[in-house]
Symmetry: C2
Subunit: 318 residues, 2 copies
């Protein structure tokens, strides 16, 4: 089985076509057309076995996730996904793995009309890098640096589910029904429609991959502001609520990562417009805090006291 056969397996399964693809897989480079008036958004993310997904994750889920984490970045920019290229490094010519991987990749690609336009398969320790391209009207991309004191802070969906799913997969949580949590770990659904709806309304936006506090920290730093989060407002799924203690839940929601939800800031005068824009979109949002003067991210409890990361978990900071 050669590199070319593996590429053929992938190509046959990833059949999304787009009229703006002049030349797809199979030449030295692909050729695509960017419509006039649009900027091109480009980002790349790598998945390494045992770090970005647990050993034992199915090939389908790895394929899905490798595209999902990248589409989540485009969602955070308010960009419409268009094209992807895939660099797949595999220890062996494992046809079954490649077929499953391609099926998972293709399932999500079809949902978002993403065309796979190029790739490279090489032999080596399993490593997957995907680069995605999205389109956004000139000047309208959402960035990290626009948050201003007085803005409110929102997140989409619920937080901490994927991190709890990882606890199940790794055997640290047991005994409860964990299907939804594991689903959230293995098949994140990038908030593309939500990101598009927020364009022109959110003052800053980021996707939550490293954990809520870490990622909002990037927004605070880039914007030159501080962000206050109300711990008791964090949106929580029933599955998460029923599976662990309040202390563990807080830790998973603030630091767990892998949520692939959007965290964004919105000026108070645009809240009504935002609610209108999101009315037709399957993307629930929750206000979790506010932007203030200063720097960094503070988490406060319902008694008004700040909590902080002590001894590896979030505790009252005295």
């Amino acid at each position: 089985m050669s590199e070319f056969s593996l590429i053929d397996i992938i190509r046959r399964r990833c059949t999304s076509s787009r009229s703006d693809v002049v030349l797809g897989i199979g030449d030295d480079a692909a050729l695509v057309e960017v419509p006039p008036g649009c900027e091109l958004a480009v980002c790349t993310d790598t998945l390494v076995a045992g770090i970005h997904f647990p050993l034992g994750t199915t090939a389908f889920d790895i394929g899905w996730k490798s595209l999902a984490v990248n589409l989540s970045d485009l969602a955070a920019m308010g960009a419409t996904p268009a094209w992807a290229v895939l660099a797949l490094t595999l220890p062996t010519d494992d046809v079954q793995f490649v077929a499953g991987f391609a099926d998972g990749f293709a399932a999500l690609a079809r949902m978002h009309k993403v065309a796979l336009i190029g790739g490279d398969t090489t032999q080596g320790p399993l490593c997957i890098s995907v680069t995605v391209h999205g389109l956004v009207p000139r000047g309208q991309a959402m960035r990290r640096d626009g948050a201003r004191p007085g803005d409110l802070v929102f997140v989409s969906g619920t937080l901490g589910d994927a991190a709890a799913g990882l606890q199940y997969v790794s055997g640290h949580l047991r005994g409860q029904d964990s299907d939804l949590l594991k689903q959230r770990l293995n098949r994140p659904e990038p908030r593309v429609a939500g990101g598009l709806a927020l364009r022109g309304l959110a003052s800053a936006c980021i996707d939550i991959s490293d954990g809520l506090v870490a990622d909002l920290g990037h927004v605070a730093k880039a914007s030159g502001v501080a962000i206050e989060i109300d711990r008791w407002k964090l949106p929580t799924s029933f599955a998460l609520q029923s599976c662990c203690t309040s202390a563990l839940r807080t830790q998973l929601q603030l630091s767990g990562g892998d949520d692939y939800e959007l965290a964004f800031t919105v000026p108070a005068e645009k809240i009504d417009a935002m609610n209108d824009a999101l009315a037709g979109v399957d993307c629930a949002i929750t206000c979790i805090g506010r932007v203030v003067e200063g720097e960094g991210v503070r988490v406060v409890d319902s008694d008004g006291n700040e909590i902080s990361t002590l001894h590896g978990g979030w505790e009252h900071f005295s």
Copy 2:
């Protein structure tokens, strides 16, 4: 040392700026502008240690080569390089390696005015994927499928040097001055200017990464033609000529790979125009054969007999 510090090391060393980069490294995605009338050429190539470069290759050379192999693909399309994204997976937070890698990457990026607009650094077995973007006027890209019977076949530069360099590095060749050959292995120079000059003149073009016969095989297959190569016309450096037997030389030149020269076909009536176009460009070319009816690639010797791959080397085919 966190992921972000490594990215900072890379960013500080890769300072090529371009006015078409709206937003560079540091947000969820980069934003760039494609000029009107241009198509975007996109390709990706991965380097794995021990496969695409020998263990012991310097960090500088790995950085250089990771960009060079990608720019070579753009050269083969006749595209002008513009932007790159880098997915770098490293076993440890090796600051010295990353600095050397970034210096090598940046040295070549500066020569071709390529801006590094995004990246991802992750922990894992060493693996480097680079995706590059180039610009080409609409409809003018060189593809693999345009070769027609009667066209002549050319290559740029000399063949087999990098493959001989690998023989030195791995200890299979000894005793001669090998600096040029190792230089050709570790610092390939993508034929960007040559590719641009050939636009509108070459009927098909590919870069030689897997070996002359294998890569011309892709052209033959995509174009629905056969290609005949005259073995005695293969351009040979003095360094290669003086280091090995004629039989080994033939093998390295036909199958060795890692040349990163251009192989292309030109209709007879465009030969004069091609010579004019290449006059101002530092890119020597040699006619090595012709396009004929049929399929596949044949190599013939000066006595008119076909030679073929037998017992792992090229021999007379009886």
